[in-house]
């Protein structure tokens, strides 16, 4: 290391700074920033691997094409549907779990561990196991369970091949796997709320529900905004379950933007088209992030 003791040492550490940050910055530039800029650039070309056509700048043509493609539009609406369903349901479940665990009951750590456990499972394993859970006919576990809780009123269904049920089926295992992650974050948020706030509210005659609305929810705003953001982005990244369980079917009922992009680049070598899709995907993520920043800032102004 060439960081000699010199008089300049305390005001100029440029050499050390660059040297220490160098490897990480090089990695980020080479493998994150450069590919992203290339994706942006490729989205405006006609690049297709192994195609005899010369590389050309085609302007917005790829974007026009994908937005005229019913498969892509269906994928986009599936992603939106997934975000709009999974985010509120999973957040509500996670909040419920966190509130239950925050009551100081005995055995809290055991329950917290159990609810968090699916988070350490690789999604591909979860997807394969849930294919068995969704097995069609009365033999299937989900069919058996629904038969039990509806006291025999449930007609066995083939969840993953039913256009109405395939997407909800994928959503359910996302919720099962992800709720523990959110729960842990919300629980940490709950534990940071000062007790005095509840005592003051109780003195003012606030009941449980009123305390929840006027103390818990406002105090929990930042963690809530965070988990909603993360879950929304995960909903847009949806891929593993789709690829393993349904391959986008039946009739495109479970296809997603990432699944379409991977199909384009992987099976058809349409690099430019896939790039345009990932740019759209990135803009969606950017919009969600922007929304989160706005919501978080608002909180700071109020607080």
């Amino acid at each position: 290391m060439s960081a000699p003791r010199s008089r300049r040492r305390f005001n100029d550490q440029t050499a050390s700074g660059l040297l220490l940050a160098g490897p990480a910055m090089l990695g980020l530039l080479l493998f994150i920033l450069a590919p992203f800029l290339i994706a942006l650039a490729l989205a405006f070309t006609n690049l297709r691997l192994g195609s005899p056509l010369p590389l050309e700048f085609v302007g917005l043509k790829q974007f026009q094409r994908i937005f005229a493609d019913p498969d892509f539009l269906q994928a986009l609406s599936n992603n939106l549907l997934c975000a709009l369903t999974v985010v509120p349901l999973q957040t509500a479940l996670a909040l419920g779990l966190a509130l239950l665990l925050n009551r100081g009951l005995r055995g809290t750590v055991v329950f917290r561990t159990l609810f968090f456990m699916p988070v350490v499972f690789p999604m591909s394993l979860v997807a394969v196991v849930w294919v068995l859970i969704y097995a069609p006919g009365p033999d299937g576990m989900m069919n058996g369970f629904l038969d039990l809780v509806t006291l025999g009123a449930w007609e066995p269904r083939d969840f993953l091949r039913d256009p109405m049920l395939a997407m909800p089926a994928l959503m359910l295992l996302s919720i099962w796997q992800g709720a523990g992650f959110q729960m842990v974050i919300l629980l940490a948020g709950l534990q940071q709320i000062p007790h005095e706030l509840y005592e003051a509210a109780a003195l003012d005659g606030a009941g449980r529900w009123s305390q929840f609305r006027h103390v818990t929810l406002p105090q929990l705003r930042n963690p809530l905004v965070f988990v909603v953001l993360v879950t929304s982005i995960l909903a847009f990244r949806l891929f593993d379950q789709v690829q393993i369980m349904t391959r986008g079917g039946p009739n495109g009922a479970t296809t997603t933007v990432m699944y379409e992009a991977v199909q384009a680049v992987f099976t058809r070598q349409q690099v430019a088209r896939a790039s345009a899709m990932t740019v759209v995907f990135f803009l969606l993520v950017l919009a969600v992030t922007w929304l989160q920043r706005r919501l978080a800032r608002q909180e700071r102004e109020i607080g």
Partner: protein, 277 residues
């Protein structure tokens, strides 16, 4: 029985009911992995799905006979281990430079790191795949390791921890004439164990379970990690659910054991990811 006791009983019943729902898929996997293949599907819809009647280790033997399980396990451990360990070093050093050193270009580069945090991997997967194909690096460890060592979010997590360490820590050491790198290893690292644990756990969970990228870049089984291996084992005829569940159990047990031992750290690691702007 008074109201609060009744209330507590209600909470416990709710917790136990929910815990059973969260546990059911795991219990089914474990029980099914021990059953004869042909009974797994038949009994899946009944309570016997959770009872391994006639338990044997035949399915586990079949996993080792039908697949190169140890190879996949080694690949997963090697790839994830290298990414996590190299990532800890590279990203912590960068965060240290951003948080504790004065240098030209620092603010500009740090703003770049913050901006890159919102870029999800999927947004760059296409050109990265294209680049890897052109360089002939498909089906290599390099393609699965090198691009993921530097990580903007890890840098940010380290940064927010380092910035909170008291200045006096370094002052004594620098008066003794310790170099910048020496201060990092002798002073910063020993005082930042929670940050290292959090980053290690978060990146471990990310790369251990990652599926999309290894699916794209691996062609044969040589460098394939477990998540891709189980997905392709599941499509390998004949479909034997007992074998698949045994594969899944073998795949998740080591991680589950580590998780149960260190669950407090996992929980902290995940919770710390939320403590950001």
């Amino acid at each position: 029985m008074n109201a609060s006791r009744l209330g507590r009983l209600g909470f416990y019943l709710a917790l136990i009911g929910l815990a059973l729902l969260f546990l059911a898929p795991l219990a089914m996997m474990l029980a099914g992995s021990l059953k004869p293949n042909e009974r797994v599907l038949v009994e899946a819809g009944t309570l016997s799905a959770f009872v391994p009647v006639g338990a044997s280790l035949d399915n586990y033997r079949a996993v080792f006979e039908r697949t190169d399980f140890l190879r996949f396990l080694f690949n997963s451990i090697f790839i994830t281990g290298t990414v996590v360990v190299a990532g800890l070093l590279v990203n912590a050093l960068a965060a240290y430079a951003f948080a504790r050193l004065q240098w030209r270009g620092r603010d500009l580069l740090f703003n770049l790191v913050i901006a890159l945090m919102i870029l999800p991997f999927e947004a760059i997967a296409v050109p990265l795949f294209y680049g890897v194909s052109i360089l002939g690096l498909r089906d290599t460890y390099i393609a699965q390791i090198l691009p993921f060592i530097a990580n903007a979010f890890s840098i940010y997590l380290f940064y927010s921890f380092f910035i909170g360490l008291p200045r006096e820590l370094e002052e004594a050491a620098s008066l003794d004439g310790a170099s910048t790198l020496r201060i990092f290893f002798a002073v910063i690292v020993p005082n930042s164990k929670p940050a290292f644990a959090s980053v290690a756990i978060l990146s471990f969970l990310t790369w251990w379970g990652s599926y999309l990228w290894p699916l794209l870049v691996t062609i044969g089984p040589e460098v394939r990690p477990l998540p891709v291996a189980i997905a392709s084992f599941y499509t390998l005829p004949p479909l034997q659910w007992g074998d698949i569940l045994a594969f899944g159990t073998l795949m998740v047990m080591p991680v589950l054991a580590v998780f149960l031992m260190f669950q407090r750290w996992f929980v902290r690691g995940v919770a710390s990811s939320a403590i950001k702007g």
